[in-house]
């Protein structure tokens, strides 16, 4: 045991000493290769995948640079046969059998596999049992029976300091499954110190950290892999700007070919709703890795938002060809059907996704959306509640619940849910607009105004807040404020350059025209009226206003000529705009 540990320690020191900011990609590659083989021996397939993807992104090593195969200790040699046998059983998912043949082994490697098999066996049995439980009473009561024994044994070894990085990782997982989260965090941190290159431990840690303060309080090993962790963590904590920075620096350091990083950046862009960037990145990803299924549900969400039917359909077909029994595939198909307004089928596919993985958060929320479309509010509420149960911080589900109750015409009731969503995404204008609308329905205009203004201030995605604010001011007869809002609104709409379906420029112009007219700013009024004529729904009013303006002008002119006739007979030509002369004012 000691020998293995010393070997590992050497490895660790090597890893850490060579930590220049990605100075030595060759060293990193070496480390990756050696950790791949370590993980592979222990059946940690996901970590192997991650490390291999990263290693693939780096340049191949020359032959003489290849790291030497791991050193065999005395114990390893003793356990070699048993280990080989057990590993083959393990690969065939015969975990109990594997554990049985490993029970006498003494090497660290064998010990890990022994414990890991027992853990997986328990998990497998748990999954099987959920299928045929004795009745609804037992729902949610099925447990992995092996966990407690594992914990007892591991904690004994842990306090004796006999656990290596992998075993620590397993111990952490066991603790987490037993809901001992605080202890689990400590153990995972220890695991990352013992073996920084094992991505699984980092990932588990990532799931346990709930806020930035907690993250800052951890003391993590100084290794290049920490940057990957931090970037991932920032994405999880919705600190997208920081995350993008981190990933950018990683790309610059030489990981530009890594599909992992590309996908992460794309997800980050998706989270801040920078759809174009995200789409471009996903397309690039598809080119580099055409058979990739991971993250494709996010991609489909983007395509859905942009209503890109052919692309989504192509993606769905492609994924079905690759593997139709994957959660991501089901989600993509669900999105596809949803876009085609076949909501029953969409819900069916989301259900299938949930059967494949009941803790798949996105599917619950999406299913809720589908039920909403089908006007099945109670089912929608159920779906959203499930989503919240899986992750309390899922703002989409809270928002969805709010929407459901809004549809049920309960604006006060939905306030609570919108507020929850807003708490989780304080800078998301959609929640603020929704809150504002609810307040408006409850005739709480002051609060509604605050919400709309805040929504505009944090950057309104849908560009509705100002319009609503203006209308609210209009209702309250605060014409100056209303006009101000309309002006900003119009500027906003034209500066963004996009064509928005629901844009109500004509409404704004109409109001502004009337406003200027009332305040006797005839030039501005006529300008607005002319612009009104560009829109079908406001053309008549625009023309009427123009007529009114010219009438008033005529009157003032005549009256002024009456009064000041002798003074201003010829030398003060009043600048008059003929109603027909529109061209000069259209920019």
């Amino acid at each position: 045991i000691l020998q293995v540990q010393s070997v590992l320690k050497v490895l660790v020191t090597v890893f850490c000493s060579c930590y220049h900011p990605f100075g030595d990609l060759v060293q990193i590659k070496k480390q990756l290769i050696s950790v791949i083989s370590l993980c592979k021996e222990r059946g940690l397939v996901h970590s192997v995948k991650w490390a291999s993807e990263l290693a693939f992104a780096l340049d191949p090593l020359p032959k003489n640079e290849l790291p030497p195969p791991a050193i065999f200790t005395e114990e390893d040699c003793q356990d070699l046969d048993a280990f080989g046998l057990a590993k083959s059983y393990f690969d065939l998912k015969e975990y109990d059998r594997a554990a049985y043949f490993l029970r006498g082994c003494r090497s660290q490697k064998a010990y890990f596999l022994y414990m890991y098999s027992r853990y997986l066996s328990g998990e497998k049995k748990k999954d099987d049992e959920t299928v045929d439980s004795l009745g609804p009473l037992e729902k949610g009561q099925v447990r992995n029976e092996a966990l407690r024994e594992l914990r007892v044994e591991l904690s004994k070894k842990h306090s004796a300091g006999e656990l290596d990085g992998f075993a620590l990782y397993l111990y952490g997982v066991v603790l987490r499954k037993l809901d001992l989260l605080k202890e689990a965090v400590d153990v995972f941190v220890e695991a990352t110190h013992a073996l920084p290159l094992h991505w699984g431990a980092w990932l588990e840690l990532c799931n346990l950290i709930t806020n930035i303060e907690m993250l800052k309080a951890l003391s993590l090993p100084d290794c290049w892999i920490k940057d990957f962790f931090m970037a991932h963590m920032y994405t999880e904590l919705q600190m997208i700007k920081e995350a993008l920075q981190k990933y950018q620096s990683l790309i610059e350091a030489g990981f530009s070919k890594s599909t992992y990083i590309i996908s992460q950046i794309a997800v980050a862009y998706h989270n801040i709703r920078d759809i174009d960037q995200a789409l471009a990145l996903f397309n690039e990803l598809r080119e580099q890795d055409p058979f990739r299924i991971e993250n494709m549900d996010t991609f489909s969400n983007l395509l859905y938002v942009r209503s890109m039917k052919p692309e989504l359909s192509y993606l769905a077909h492609n994924l079905v060809e690759i593997d139709k029994y994957r959660v991501e595939t089901c989600c993509v198909i669900g999105n596809y059907y949803s876009l085609r307004s076949q909501h029953e089928k969409a819900a069916l596919y989301f259900q299938r996704a949930l059967k494949l993985n009941p803790r798949c958060l996105g599917a619950w929320t999406l299913m809720g959306h589908e039920y909403m479309e089908m006007k099945n509010t109670s089912a929608a509420i159920q779906a959203y509640r499930h989503a919240i149960e899986v992750n309390k911080r899922d703002y989409r589900a809270w928002y969805g619940l709010g929407q459901t109750y809004e549809i049920l015409k309960m604006p006060f009731y939905c306030l609570y849910y919108y507020r929850k969503a807003h708490q989780l995404r304080p800078n998301d204008s959609r929640m603020l607009v929704a809150l504002g609308e609810s307040y408006e329905k409850l005739s709480q205009q002051v609060e509604a105004k605050k919400c709309y203004w805040r929504a505009y201030s944090v950057g309104d995605v849908e560009r509705m807040a100002l319009l609503k604010l203006a209308k609210l001011h209009e209702q309250l007869n605060e014409s100056d404020d209303a006009a101000q809002c309309y002006i900003i609104y119009i500027q906003d709409i034209f500066s963004c350059g996009e064509q928005l379906e629901h844009a109500e420029v004509s409404t704004a112009l109409r109001y502004l025209g009337q406003y200027y007219f009332k305040n006797k700013h005839y030039d501005e009024a006529s300008l607005c009226a002319q612009r009104c004529c560009d829109y079908n729904d406001a053309r008549e009013e625009g023309k009427a206003l123009l007529r009114q303006i010219s009438q008033v002008r005529d009157q003032t002119e005549t009256s002024s000529t009456d009064l000041f006739g002798p003074l201003s007979s010829n030398n003060t030509p009043v600048r008059r705009v003929s109603p027909l002369d529109l061209s000069s004012f259209t920019p």
Partner: protein
């Protein structure tokens, strides 16, 4: 089947069948004990059978199920297929036959566990005392963490060096899985206790732990959310209570939709009640605006779906809310009563009537109208056995009698409620006695006893109130205010104004108007007249706006007393007359008598003692019958003073008789004052007595009184107000 020997055993067993079938799950120990009490032979047979199965193999259980159907056919058998037991067994058999092999195996495992959890424990022999063992098993939810810890230690101490805290952490999930029935029983029990006697329920933190545990294993168990809502209301936690309430209704909407689709009775109904409950929650926390919004919403949805019952509930909440906000809601209430009667909702109807009676009493409706209304609702209550409303009705009658100044009637009604056995069935050995009605009545009783100077009884009643309604609970404010008022009055009577002053702040925190009034009283007593006067003026204006008649009269009396101090007796008169007419109009007898006392005193001071005595006689009877001891003393003292003054103007022959009559009256007054130990007034009385006796030439009596006066005078500081200038 088991042969039952005697018919009495058979009867007892038959009686046991229903409780067993419908009750919560028992541990084996408890089960064997209950059966054993009825018929030891059967219990033994059951144990034997179980032992056979649990210690045997799977086939033993299969054999058991195979033999089950045989008694169905024999018509004289206990388990004939249409009998209760037969039906149950057929259900069981059907369920068993549906199981797959792995499920059968699991069932067998569960049976083994059930059996061994009873007998495999070290130290408990198979035939040991089952009752004792039962306490240790996880059925008993109330068992403390410690015994759990011990049990764990027995199992694992030898293998693990874990900390105690770790053990508990691990322990929580291990005892988690309750069966549905156990969980329901637990929830029902706790909810019942919360409603009826909070002190007997689990502590808020412990209860929340249990609930969280339950929800962890079965997140769909909506009722647990509701209990969590109730529980967090106890500790005034708006965050969790809102969260739980909404979660509960979210869940309820699901279960509702399963049964009756999207129809009117389905989840739409729970939506309405969800909004209504939210309104109630905000109302409870004093967020009236929020409550109003939520209520509007509930009303709107209920209107849209034509749910009159729900609308009716909303309406009664609406007028409650209006009342809480302090605006007049009698029209709303009347409407509500009419509608409730129309839709045959006796509870809401009589609740509305009670509310109307309350408002009527405050507004000075005639007594017989109110009492008639109360009587009619009472008939309604007894007819529908609405025990809660009967309690409220009695409490309300007490309050009304008290307001009218009929302390004896009030006391009688209060005792009636306290001694009445509730109509509601008593579950879990707990009577419902923590409602507002009880709190109100006990407070009245305390005050009534305080009036009679029985402070020992008062402190006992208050102690009981404190136990029954701990300070954090909803109705605690009632007794807090009552306690403070009594202490304040006592301090004022004793002339210890510095003691009364701190109470004012406390009272003001609980009830602003009352606090302001008491503040004025203290200021008046401390001779800070100007401040007192300005406060009283302000108070009067405020009370006239809110139509708080009792307070108006009391403020007027206090103002009149202020006038006395500046010798403005003539200015006090119109004020007092106004107060008197107000008091009479509202039938407030106690206050009317008090006003008459004031009036008589004013007249005495204005030099018309004949008139004063005449007026006084009018009030003497009610005061002696219903008044507080203090008032009795004061009335007699005043009477004596009038008598003395009148005697002064009489010829000598009559004067002697009149003076001795006055001395006698003074003696009575002294008796009342000494009952309260009111030394200041006693001093005055003794002084007067001494003077009288001196005039009458009764030296011995004079000396005695003079000595008593001297003793008190040494003890007390110099008199604050001139003796003559006080009622």
């Amino acid at each position: 089947m088991i042969v039952i020997s005697t018919s009495s055993e058979r009867r007892r067993l038959n009686k046991l069948i229903l409780p067993l079938q419908q009750g919560p799950d028992l541990t084996l120990g408890q089960f064997l004990k209950t059966v054993g009490e009825c018929c030891p032979q059967t219990a033994y047979a059951v144990k034997l059978r179980l032992h056979e199965m649990a210690d045997g193999e799977l086939k033993d259980m299969e054999y058991f199920f195979a033999t089950l159907p045989t008694p169905f056919r024999a018509i004289d058998s206990e388990a004939y297929k249409t009998s209760v037991v037969g039906l149950f067994m057929r259900h069981m058999l059907l369920a068993y036959n549906k199981l797959s092999f792995s499920q059968v195996y699991k069932l067998y495992k569960a049976l083994q566990q059930y059996y061994h959890s009873q007998f495999a424990q070290p130290g408990v022999s198979p035939v040991g005392i089952p009752g004792l063992a039962a306490d240790n098993t996880d059925m008993d939810l109330t068992s403390t963490e410690d015994t759990m810890g011990e049990r764990m230690e027995k199992d694992e101490l030898d293998t693990t060096p874990l900390h105690e805290s770790d053990l508990r952490n691990e322990d929580a999930p291990s005892r988690g899985p309750l069966s549905q029935k156990q969980a329901e029983y637990f929830l029902a029990r706790q909810a019942y206790l919360l409603k009826n006697d909070e002190n007997k329920a689990l502590k808020p933190a412990a209860l929340q732990d249990e609930l969280n545990n339950m929800l962890k294993f079965n997140p769909d168990f909506a009722e647990a959310h509701y209990l969590s809502y109730l529980n967090s209301m106890r500790v005034q936690d708006i965050f969790i209570s809102t969260h739980s309430l909404l979660h509960y209704f979210d869940r309820l909407i699901l279960s509702g939709s399963e049964g009756k689709s999207n129809g009117d009775e389905g989840y739409g109904r729970s939506l309405r009640y969800a909004a209504l409950n939210l309104a109630a929650l905000h109302c409870r926390f004093g967020h009236y605006q929020q409550a109003d919004l939520a209520l509007q919403e509930a009303i709107r949805i209920a209107q849209e779906s034509n749910d009159h019952v729900c609308l009716q509930h909303c309406l009664s909440w609406l007028y409650t809310l209006e009342q809480m906000k302090g605006s007049d809601s009698s029209v709303l209430t009347e409407d509500s009563v009419k509608m409730a009667a129309h839709f045959c909702l006796p509870y809401l109807a009589s609740l509305g009537i009670q509310s109307l009676v309350q408002q009527g009493a405050v507004q000075g409706k005639t007594a017989h109208e109110l009492m008639d209304a109360m009587k009619e609702t009472d008939i309604l209550h007894w007819k529908h056995s609405l025990s809660e409303l009967i309690d409220i009705s009695l409490a309300q009658t007490t309050s009304i009698w008290r307001m009218y100044g009929k302390s004896t009637m009030a006391q009688q009604q209060a005792q009636l409620l306290l001694n009445m056995s509730s109509l509601e069935q008593v579950n879990f050995g707990v009577h419902q006695n923590n409602t507002e009605a009880f709190a109100v009545i006990l407070c009245h009783l305390a005050e009534l006893h305080a009036e009679q100077g029985l402070y020992g009884a008062v402190s006992e009643i208050l102690k009981h109130l404190k136990d029954q309604f701990p300070p954090h609970t909803q109705h605690a404010k009632l007794w807090m205010l009552c306690d403070l008022k009594i202490q304040f009055d006592r301090a004022m009577n004793d002339g210890k104004y510095h003691l009364a002053e701190p109470h004012v702040t406390a009272i003001a925190a609980l009830n602003k108007t009352e606090g302001l009034y008491r503040k004025a009283l203290v200021l008046k007593a401390l001779n800070r007249t100007t401040e007192a006067y300005s406060i009283l003026q302000r108070l009067q204006l405020y009370c006239e706006k809110t139509k708080y008649t009792e307070m108006i009269i009391r403020v007027m009396l206090a103002t009149a007393e202020l006038h006395w101090e500046s010798s403005g007796f003539a200015t006090a008169l119109p004020l007092l007359l106004q107060a008197l007419s107000l008091a009479r109009q509202h039938h407030l007898q106690a206050l009317a008598s008090e006003t008459i006392l004031h009036l008589a005193f004013t007249q005495l001071m204005l030099g018309v003692p004949d008139q004063a005595l005449g007026v006084l006689h009018e009030a003497m009877e009610p005061v002696l019958a219903h008044g507080a001891v203090m008032d009795k003393g004061r009335a007699l003292l005043l009477a004596a003073r009038c008598q003395v003054t009148i005697a002064g103007a009489q010829p000598d022959c009559q004067r002697h008789a009149a003076l001795s009559l006055a001395a006698q009256t003074l003696g009575e007054a002294a008796a009342y004052f000494s009952m309260l130990d009111c030394k200041e007034r006693l001093r005055d009385v003794h002084y007067l007595q001494a003077r009288l006796h001196h005039t009458l030439g009764q030296t011995a009596e004079r000396n005695k009184c003079a000595m008593l006066f001297r003793l008190l005078d040494q003890e007390l500081p110099a008199p604050g107000a001139a003796v003559a200038m006080r009622l």
